[in-house]
């Protein structure tokens, strides 16, 4: 009856969201008087999970699962949950985990709550608090099914060390041919750049920058901070920046620790998409820009003066602190 989690392993290690997931699951398991079991797919050394309270690891190894496949991976999660008699299954909010989650929920006849932002409000009845209304509200959702699947919202629970044995055992799953009906033809990934999905800091530019030729300082600021670059919808629509950089309600969601908005006025749709970021800094010449109402820190000034100066001072700060 352990709590079952699917921990994503990529490029030789567990993703940070997987370790945050383990930290969260450990607390949930403790409140349920049980342990945490993680299921992994084609992972290498899984011992790191023990640092975050995972007691058992079901290791699935299958070359058919080399590339992510939602239906097959959902089947893996379902079989692992059934083996453990798990009543609570917790997933990350990565693109792949959110893709498999509803499929796994149907397979387990489970209620599913996504965007969960905190430890359960209560375990009996099982109630969780989740983001709703595009980060403008929360709802407390009760899951009344026997098995419950929840997805932990990005950046909502930090790493918490706890001791766990992470006892690994090989876990053989039964996969159907039908699980592989969808084939990957090709993948295109921007290499070397921090993706918006994984970034702890995002530097974003808007129409106030006046043209694509002025983005050098945004890229440089991002580089100094080890950040991802992003842009507002008008900038993306004008093709000043790749559409993949568009963040906002119909663009990518941002849940980073820090979001720096340069020359962005703060339309409601933009704010809805970036509202899950923890700290917001707004740089804009217009003191009436709506973005200042939701910002934590603001600089009213000309971006073309402020950003280069900020880059210079950050470089000094980094040199001094390292």
């Amino acid at each position: 009856m352990s709590v079952l989690i699917y921990t994503e392993f990529s490029e030789g290690k567990f993703k940070k969201v997987a370790l945050e997931l383990a930290s969260y699951a450990k607390k949930v398991a403790e409140s349920l008087g049980t342990t945490v079991t993680a299921v992994t797919v084609n992972a290498g050394d899984v011992s790191e999970l023990g640092k975050y309270g995972v007691d058992k690891v079901l290791k699935v190894s299958d070359s058919k699962l080399d590339k992510f496949n939602a239906r097959a991976y959902a089947d893996v999660v379902k079989q692992a949950a059934q083996k453990e008699g798990a009543k609570v299954v917790i997933l990350s909010s990565t693109t792949d985990s959110l893709y498999l989650a509803p499929i796994a929920a149907v397979g387990l006849d489970a209620g599913y709550a996504s965007n969960v932002v905190a430890l359960p409000v209560s375990t009996s009845p099982f109630q969780v608090k989740r983001n709703a209304f595009s980060n403008k509200g929360f709802n407390i959702t009760e899951l009344s099914s026997d098995v419950k699947v929840i997805a932990l919202a990005k950046n909502s629970f930090g790493l918490a060390e706890a001791s766990g044995a992470a006892a690994a055992e090989d876990f053989a799953v039964t996969l159907n041919d039908a699980d592989f009906n969808i084939q990957i033809q090709s993948q295109e990934k921007a290499s070397g750049k921090v993706s918006i999905a994984d970034a702890e800091i995002v530097v974003s530019g808007g129409r106030g920058l006046k043209g694509p030729e002025n983005w050098g300082m945004i890229e440089e600021l991002a580089e100094v901070l080890g950040a991802a670059t992003a842009c507002s919808k008008p900038v993306s629509d004008l093709d000043w920046r790749p559409h993949s950089e568009h963040v906002g309600q119909t663009g990518k969601p941002v849940a980073s620790n820090l979001y720096i908005a340069v020359g962005i006025s703060g339309a409601i749709q933009h704010i809805a998409g970036i509202n899950a970021s923890k700290v917001k800094v707004v740089i804009n010449t217009d003191p009436e820009a709506p973005f200042f109402k939701v910002a934590d820190y603001g600089v009213v000034g000309d971006a073309f003066q402020v950003v280069p100066e900020l880059i210079k001072k950050l470089k000094e700060f980094k040199a001094h602190n390292n």
Partner: protein, 248 residues
């Protein structure tokens, strides 16, 4: 080719979010309702298939009579006919079960849903629907081409894109990118006039489990005012980000 476009009736983005009845319900007073933005991209793509490949497009919504104005907008945009399943969309699983009945009854080749609705942000209906039907499913879909019974789709992945091949029948969880924002269809006068004559059939719901329930709503804690830093004092901004906010 028969396409079913599933649409949600949601509050407009600029709507003030308030709760009523002891914070157990969303307050719809004064709220404008629209087609869920993620669904609109899929709907426009379906109309493209209608115009270029002779597809027949049906829209479906699970909701009470109050959603019919929103459904008519979809007809005005160009869908051929509409279905309203007469039930409150109790939770994602319940909605997926209703839609599964509609798909089976109509034998659709392609079902296009929005990946996530901007009211409850569940992001589960397309995946659950596909699982209930045992149909191929592509989520976070930013592109779809169909030839005969074969589809080529583009999925947005963390840090890039993936191109996939899948046979019909298919469920898609769509978003911006499936068409570009500038290509979104809006209802024109003729569309609005003909929408009135197109069929909007009301179907009764089938009984289905409701596995989750929102028992209470909360508004976020009020935000404290922004701390303004002078452009001449950026050292202070760095100091605050490092020592106070601890994000650098």
């Amino acid at each position: 080719m028969k396409i079913l476009v599933c649409i949600s009736h949601v509050p407009d983005t600029t709507a003030k979010i308030n709760f009523t009845n002891g914070d157990t319900e969303f307050d719809t007073n004064g709220v404008q309702f629209v087609i869920n933005p993620n669904d609109e991209f899929g709907l426009t793509r379906a109309i493209w298939f209608k115009e270029k490949q002779g597809a027949h497009v049906t829209v479906v919504n699970v909701g009470g009579p109050e959603t019919e104005a929103t459904i008519r907008k979809a007809l005005a945009i160009g869908a051929d006919e509409a279905i309203r399943v007469n039930a409150n969309p109790a939770d994602g699983f319940f909605v997926a079960k209703q839609l599964a009945e509609v798909v089976k009854a109509g034998n659709y080749d392609v079902v296009i849903c929005g990946k996530e609705s901007l009211d409850y942000n569940g992001g589960m209906v397309p995946g659950m629907l596909a699982a209930l039907l045992n149909y191929n499913f592509v989520n976070s879909c930013v592109g779809v081409e169909i030839e005969g019974t074969k589809a080529t789709l583009v999925r947005e992945i963390d840090g890039g894109k993936e191109t996939l091949n899948a046979d019909l029948p298919l469920v898609i969880g769509g978003q911006k990118g499936i068409v570009e924002e500038k290509d979104l269809r809006i209802p024109n006068m003729r569309g609005i006039m003909t929408a009135r004559t197109k069929a909007l059939n009301v179907m009764e719901a089938v009984s289905a489990d409701v596995k989750t329930k929102a028992v209470k709503f909360e508004k976020p804690a009020p935000k404290s005012a922004v701390k303004l830093i002078s452009p001449d004092n950026l050292d202070e901004l760095i100091n605050l980000l490092h020592n106070e906010a601890k994000v650098i």
